[in-house]
Symmetry: C2
Subunit: 518 residues, 2 copies
């Protein structure tokens, strides 16, 4: 008998694990909150020579070409530390760079307003965050549209709802109906009220950064001194590849560093466009850019936590369009992981795809991105849920689908037991060649928790699937996000704190918010 | 600037790599035929203790419980070798087992009628085969239906067409319109005429096995002596878990062994149904079953090539339905890889999924299966293209989609260069902080071959994708398989050999083919 001919066992019991976890108003049965530990040795595309070659390339860029820092104060700090400055170009010696990198903590925690949602960055931990910054959003019922506050709030609720999403990254969709001068105030208010997970500040001008830090401080019920005692939030900055940092990015990183808050430094190096067409060259440039900003942060605040973000991919050489989840993307991510470990830096990666709808291409590109993140030893996976169209659209359905695959990755990271009970010799002996394991004691003791139970996959056979309407994955996801949003309850928040946050927002709006000509 | 806001570079040149590879009647631009080398260290969920525990479990099953061999001659051979036999139950000591396993070659080749399509099994090689044995097939235009010869031939043509599919496994769909007594004759005739890749014989009775061996011998223009000099084809056998081998499976393996042709031994151990509910237990049982048949093959023909097939997955404990590409499936595959290396056996894995249509779930389950196969160090990936519905349906669209992801895995396995030219210091210096890399010499010298170019992914932006009809992945796949089949040309075959094959088929049909009461 070949495997294709094997009969499926008959349905034997209703309910089971998933049913047990339902109820109590939970829209779906999901894994509990946890901080996953990645037990696998990272995949290492490069040997020691390859690592040395990329390191040398990055160092030569820093020593001989230099990085532009479009920020006078940053230039002063770098000059004072002995860097060679020509106009806005900064060159630094490798020994100096390595000495600053040695100050970076290998791991750290970020504690949001709910201390139970504290995340750990580093070691073998890996945490996942929502899609960040798309200008558009879409769902199957309303189609694709420019982002607005209602959708923004929906995605924040999904971020809060799913236990596999550990932190709230940038805006899951840009609420373009909110004026840029006050958008950060309304958005952070929503985020701090609708979630109790780690939040982030965009480095888009001093007012925004200072406002967000203050709001996070208020939400946590902290004094400034308490706020600065440990990481409470973070920012993410991107270089303007090739070889340049714009003012707001550097300014934000420096402001957070002064309050001991972490910065993720993520060069967006598209090989063949903003970086060399070779993977090794693109990663070397990305490292040079990333390390330069990390050095600045260490000069401002020695030992301040930072993360190196890998975002090297390739473009379609026929059209120039960026691609994600490609073979080159996977290898670049893994090599960035090797280099991050070489420098002792925590690593950020992403769950990205180029697909325009939540179809099979989106799923395989995202699966490959996720795989590369885990096999790279990434500590933070950005854009883990909801990303479509190369980051230009947040999809409600994709968010739910991604949470399914992220959950599967979390289950995959659970260690496999090999105790005597796991080996199950007695069960095999009991069942023998003429039985099956459905009803043996060994199974009955374990069946409720033995296997990961998906909330979105449909494992019914074709006939049952067709009779139930042949519902495909995105349509199943639509049902789920509607149910989740309908039943959503925000996490507890002291009314006095909510009031203080609202008053802060009102005052800052009265003051005009942030300038929009940054 | 956050990455979501980054502008996509404009289209800059028409054509490019993919365009260059088109033409000459090739329906799509695909990678050339190659035997990929997997450069990565396998993922190892277990430490030495875990390996020892599973080994001990498998050995205790063989020593203390035993495996049923429903084949009198097999029982005689095993008894003569010193195994302990009770009725049809065979127990064997671990030292004896390990001595037989020591005879298994670590790697071998299989040479089909076209020696240029020879495949290598073992070492760091990995080869991919088509979906095998579904009773149904489907495509978006004609829907789902029972398999028939026309569809069988279509899938054989797709198997031949795609260079990333290295061998023709079992029937890619069962042609149920052909009578079982003669089905193997027509099927092998089609396979040997429409492909020049490695083929397989079902172990479903002596006539079928002997007929297929003879047809492969004729197709290769070989004498029997030449046929037996090296592997020319293979069979795959499944245990009837738990702990049993049916007559036809053992008979086929023994017939091939006598002619020095390889057998893949693939226990289909569904944890919680046909095997213990624990991964370690299911793998231990699967090994006991697999090793028992491998021992038999070695007794019949010492040193004959064999492959251990991993096919351990879990069932949905709510319904009993088998699941594939799950976290447990991935770990079971990787652990099977560790154990196969422990025993010095080449490994087979699969690209399986439970989904009922070629949607996102199918893609992520398949991506996870593929990932687990590669990270397990598998040497043969069965069902690599076309599998749906837990193996009950061969999908035309899924076949094309899978070839896209298999190609991406092949590109992923290409080593990453870190020469001075790869590091691209001079290009970075030339471009500097105000340029881009589109038109620099370093890019222009490499852009045609720098990146993997997909044939199915759509990387256009949303507006272009929508204007072009918002075509989703399966519909794009439909266009491709129609084009491939319309343009298909069978590989060259000496007309005298084709005539000899046809005459053999006619004679064997006159003789009544094979009995159908096996």
């Amino acid at each position: 008998m070949s495997e294709g001919e094997t009969k499926r066992p008959k349905r034997r019991r209703a309910g089971g694990r998933a049913a047990n976890l339902r109820g109590k108003g939970a829209a779906i049965a999901q894994l509990p909150w946890s901080l996953p530990v990645n037990p696998d040795r990272p995949t290492e595309p490069l040997g020691e020579d390859g690592i040395a070659a990329i390191h040398n390339g990055a160092m030569r860029i820093l020593e001989e070409i230099g990085i532009e820092f479009l920020h006078p104060e940053a230039l002063e700090i770098l000059a004072a530390a002995g860097c060679e400055i020509t106009d806005e170009n900064v060159r630094m010696e490798r020994d100096f760079v390595m000495a600053q990198l040695a100050l970076v903590p290998a791991s750290f925690t970020i504690t949001p307003r709910n201390p139970e949602r504290r995340i750990e960055i580093g070691g073998r931990r890996v945490v996942f965050g929502n899609v960040s910054s798309p200008p558009n959003c879409s769902d199957l019922e309303r189609g694709r549209r420019a982002g607005e506050r209602e959708s923004f709030r929906d995605f924040v609720k999904l971020t809060q709802y799913f236990n596999c999403i550990h932190f709230a990254g940038g805006y899951p969709v840009e609420p373009l109906d909110l004026h840029p001068s006050v958008r950060h105030l309304d958005c952070l208010y929503d985020k701090l009220v609708l979630t109790d997970k780690v939040v982030h500040a965009y480095s888009l001008g001093k007012e925004r950064v200072e406002d967000v830090m203050e709001m996070v401080r208020i939400a946590g019920g902290l004094t400034w001194r308490e706020f600065e005692e440990a990481p409470r939030m973070y920012t993410n900055i991107n270089s303007t590849s090739p070889l340049k940092y714009d003012h707001p990015m550097l300014d934000g990183a420096m402001r957070l560093a002064r309050r001991r808050q972490p910065t993720l430094v993520t060069p967006f190096t598209l090989a063949g466009a903003m970086a060399p067409v070779t993977i090794a060259g693109a990663v070397a440039q990305s490292l040079a850019e990333g390390l330069a900003a990390i050095v600045l942060v260490q000069l401002v605040s020695p030992g301040c936590p930072v993360v190196f973000g890998s975002f090297t991919s390739n473009v379609d050489m026929k059209t120039g369009a960026p691609a994600f989840g490609t073979p080159e993307y996977m290898r670049a991510t893994q090599i960035s992981g090797q280099m991050a470990r070489y420098y002792g830096l925590p690593l950020r990666a992403s769950n990205a795809c180029a697909a325009n709808c939540a179809d099979a291409q989106a799923a395989w590109e995202s699966a490959f991105s996720l795989w590369s993140a885990l096999s790279a030893g990434a500590h933070m996976v950005y854009h883990a849920a909801g990303w479509l169209e190369g980051g230009l659209c947040a999809s409600y359905e994709k968010f739910v689908m991604d949470c399914e695959t992220v959950q599967q990755m979390i289950a995959y990271m659970k260690p496999v037991g090999t105790t005597e009970a796991d080996i199950a010799f007695d069960a095999v002996k009991e069942v023998g060649p003429r039985g099956n394991f459905f009803d043996c004691a060994h199974t009955l003791e374990r069946y409720e928790t033995a296997f990961y139970s998906p909330f979105l996959s449909d494992w019914s056979n074709f006939e049952n699937w067709r009779e139930a309407g042949a519902v495909q994955t995105p349509e199943r996801a639509t049902r789920l996000w509607k149910k989740i949003l309908a039943e959503f309850e925000p996490p507890p928040l002291d009314p006095a704190i909510a009031e203080e946050l609202a008053a802060f927002v009102a005052r800052r709006k009265d003051e005009g918010g942030a300038p929009t000509d940054y």
